[in-house]
């Protein structure tokens, strides 16, 4: 385009002038649809404010992943380190500090998605939802589905009970998340964890990670929710992460490692596909997993005779932007 001559001194003025002439699509009237959706959500039984409070904290345990502490000057994305689809690791310099007030009450739909029946979740999930054995947990107290690109994030929530202590003061006994996604899709979006340990473990034939200790602070698994920020919530739950059959599992409880693994292995057997990447048996997937575990990137971590590599962790889920 042949442009008019201009000095750049008045550039900002000209840009400001543009605001009257830029074309934006007509703004749709959102009121009706928004109010209808709000009404619909208000009709979903929430169990009252106390229960909402619990669900808010249940959201706390939605997100997790791990990055490596001990490398304060290193900041790098380590996408595949855990080799768990949908999980991304970002190294951060420091965990947020400061006093963390108790979480505020929120609606139950904020972080886990939409509350549904188990049958409803089964219909939504592109994979078979696996329930722990009946003598351990059995059917969940609540089921949530969060729709994501290419599938659904299923959250099974169990209230505390005998043998299943409450996670911190969350009102949650266990949260078992199951999701299937492409590696590049970020389902667990952002969380920050204080010091803690990450330990490679086996869950049956699958390989996974045990993340324990430290203080887990979740920013928000759903960035559309501004309500959880670095100081909004906390959880001291221990997390088990593993993948089988292309499905990533995340179990957060207050149980110790062995009890959590026992709970995880109570899931009914899965017919593994050849693409399972975390199998420690024979095959390319197991080689890949083992290579990932034997390669403490950025030179951090210390070896354990039993499990290969220990890491002291400071973690953040993150997404670009």
């Amino acid at each position: 385009m042949t442009e008019p001559r201009t000095s750049t001194d008045d550039l900002e003025q000209r840009l400001s002038h543009l605001r009257h002439h830029i074309a934006f699509p007509p703004t749709p009237d959102l009121a009706a649809s928004v109010l209808a959706e709000i009404d619909r959500r208000r009709t979903i039984p929430t169990g009252g404010a106390h229960r909402s409070h619990r669900w808010a904290l249940a959201g706390v345990v939605v997100a997790l992943v791990v990055a490596l502490l001990a490398v304060p000057k290193t900041r790098a994305v380590v996408t595949d380190w855990l080799d768990l689809p949908g999980v991304r690791i970002v190294l951060i310099d420091d965990a947020p500090t400061g006093t963390m007030p108790p979480p505020s009450a929120v609606g139950m739909t904020l972080l886990l998605g939409e509350r549904v029946t188990l049958a409803g979740a089964a219909a939504e999930a592109p994979f078979a939802i696996r329930l722990p054995a009946g003598d351990s947990l059995g059917a969940p107290d609540e089921v949530y589905v969060r729709h994501v690109e290419g599938g659904a994030l299923i959250s099974l929530l169990y209230l505390p009970r005998s043998g299943l202590p409450e996670i911190g003061e969350t009102g949650v006994g266990a949260l078992l998340m199951q999701f299937q996604t492409e590696e590049d899709v970020q389902l667990l979006l952002k969380s920050v964890m204080g010091s803690g340990d990450v330990l490679p473990v086996r869950i049956g034939t699958a390989a996974g990670y045990w993340v324990a200790g430290g203080r887990l602070t979740v920013v928000a698994p759903d960035p559309s929710q501004p309500v959880f920020n670095e100081t909004d919530a906390r959880s001291t739950g221990n997390v088990l992460l593993w993948a089988e059959g292309g499905v990533t599992y995340r179990l957060e409880t207050a149980l110790d490692r062995n009890a959590a693994i026992a709970l995880a292995t109570s899931l009914p057997p899965l017919v593994l596909t050849p693409t399972v990447s975390m199998n420690w048996g024979e095959g390319a997937g197991s080689d890949r997993a083992m290579r990932a575990m034997d390669r403490p990137r950025c030179g951090v971590g210390r070896r354990s005779a039993t499990w290969g590599v220990w890491y002291r962790c400071c973690a953040a889920y993150s997404w670009d932007g």
């Binding site: 699509p25 609606g107 960035p223």
Partner: protein, 182 residues
């Protein structure tokens, strides 16, 4: 609910336009704005009394837009455009002769903006086309206000450099032409 409806109607255009700038897609922007208002309502209990609603809402909008865009990996490129008749009709507020020039300037400037990298175009659009203050741009972009300042500064610098380069090129092609428009 009536009060929230009033808020909704007051800010729906702003929310929609910010969503459009970020997502680059009309339908996506509508979905984003709608979801953002629902989410904002759900989170109202945590809205800090006395705080400004606009940046809070914009943060929700922007996060929703980014989340959808990234998850779908199909974010469209946001492109500025003049109002449909802008390039061909004199601007009402200007005298006839100046109006023609102004329309030409607007078209030319929009063309330059669209040639910028998207991040620059986005921050300049939020600042100048939507007239957002830096605090609200920071909310929409999920960054600190100081970062907004630096991004704006760099974006303006690149826009100036681009204009200068084009003018120098034009001078080379048309040496008889010179001087700035009044």
């Amino acid at each position: 609910m009536a009060a929230y409806e009033e808020l909704l109607r007051r800010y729906q255009r702003l929310a929609f336009r910010v969503a459009y700038v970020i997502s680059g897609d009309t339908d996506e922007a509508e979905d984003v704005a709608q979801t953002a208002f629902v989410n904002a309502w759900l989170a109202l209990s945590r809205f800090r009394a006395g705080a400004s609603f606009r940046p809070w809402l914009l943060r929700i909008v922007a996060n929703e837009a980014k989340n959808r865009g990234m998850a779908a990996a199909r974010r469209r490129r946001f492109v500025l455009a003049l109002a449909a008749d802008e390039a061909h009709r004199p601007l009402v507020a200007d005298p006839p002769d100046a109006a023609l020039v102004t329309a030409e300037r607007s078209e030319w400037l929009v063309d330059h903006l669209n040639r910028l990298r998207e991040a620059d175009r986005t921050v300049l659009t939020l600042r100048y086309a939507l007239d957002l203050p830096e605090a609200e741009i920071a909310a929409a972009l999920g960054c600190r206000r100081g970062t907004v300042k630096s991004r704006l500064h760099r974006a303006l610098g690149r826009l100036r450099a681009q204009i200068t380069t084009d003018q120098a090129s034009d001078d080379g092609a048309n040496p008889a032409r010179g001087g700035d428009l009044p």
